[in-house]
């Protein structure tokens, strides 16, 4: 089971781009990288998922280098409402031993 490491917290200001990096040195060949966002008193919400290179959706971009040992979640022009905890998960759910394990996440604070 690939372990992930993320910064505990980050600060930013409205309108800035925020990049949160996740380290997953033991990622397996079939593993996907998935990011979730959690607001206080709510369950986590899926943001983006990728396998390699770059993935972009209406909310964020995910950059994955060729060796896949890390990934970077990029949030363009953050607003106060992006203040949340962001979790990086790695795994292949087709593997019956895979458990959807959340780490401690990165607590992002966006200031005015």
């Amino acid at each position: 089971l690939a372990k992930t490491t993320q910064p505990i917290s980050m600060d930013s200001y409205e309108g800035q781009e925020v990049n949160i990096t996740c380290s997953h040195n033991n990622i397996a060949t079939n593993d996907y990288i998935t990011w979730y966002q959690q607001f206080p008193s709510q369950g986590p919400r899926f943001i983006i998922q990728g396998y390699k290179t770059k993935v972009t959706n209406e909310v964020a971009s995910l950059f994955i280098p060729a060796d896949r040992k890390s990934s970077t979640l990029s949030l363009p022009r953050v607003s106060l409402s992006d203040t949340a905890v962001y979790y990086c998960l790695v795994g292949d759910r087709r593997d019956s031993s895979y458990k959807l394990i959340f780490g401690s996440g990165t607590r992002l604070l966006v200031r005015p």
């Binding site: 079939n30 458990k99 780490g103």
Partner: protein, 113 residues
């Protein structure tokens, strides 16, 4: 489309009481999960299920039991409630594909006094 529905939303239990937290999903997902989240902490996996009739322990299973008799339902049973079980409980479900997006319920806030 309701997604993942948890009941109740709030509950206060006395030490030693028992209760069942209900979780239902209407997306025909194979996988279902139960988590607990203590204040200011990350989510801890209690139990999970890869399909009806199949369950397995997560990171913190002690004090809890689960069953999965149908695809839709995955109840979590607390026997002999203890103050240490005061937490917010989240249920989630997902398809069994590679990275599959997981959908979470709104949570049950449980206080044991």
């Amino acid at each position: 489309n309701a997604g993942v529905t948890q009941t109740p939303k709030f509950r206060i239990l006395k030490i030693g009481q028992s209760m069942t937290l209900q979780c239902t999903q209407d997306m025909n997902h194979n996988y279902m999960y139960w988590y607990r989240q203590d204040p200011g902490m990350g989510l801890k996996l209690i139990y999970y299920s890869v399909g009806a009739g199949i369950t397995d322990k997560g990171e913190v299973p002690n004090g809890y039991n689960v069953s999965r008799s149908t695809t839709e339902d995955f109840p979590l049973r607390l026997e002999l409630a203890a103050p240490s079980q005061t937490s917010v409980y989240f249920c989630a479900s997902s398809y069994r594909d590679r990275g599959g997006e997981a959908f979470f319920g709104q949570g049950t806030r449980l206080t044991v006094v």
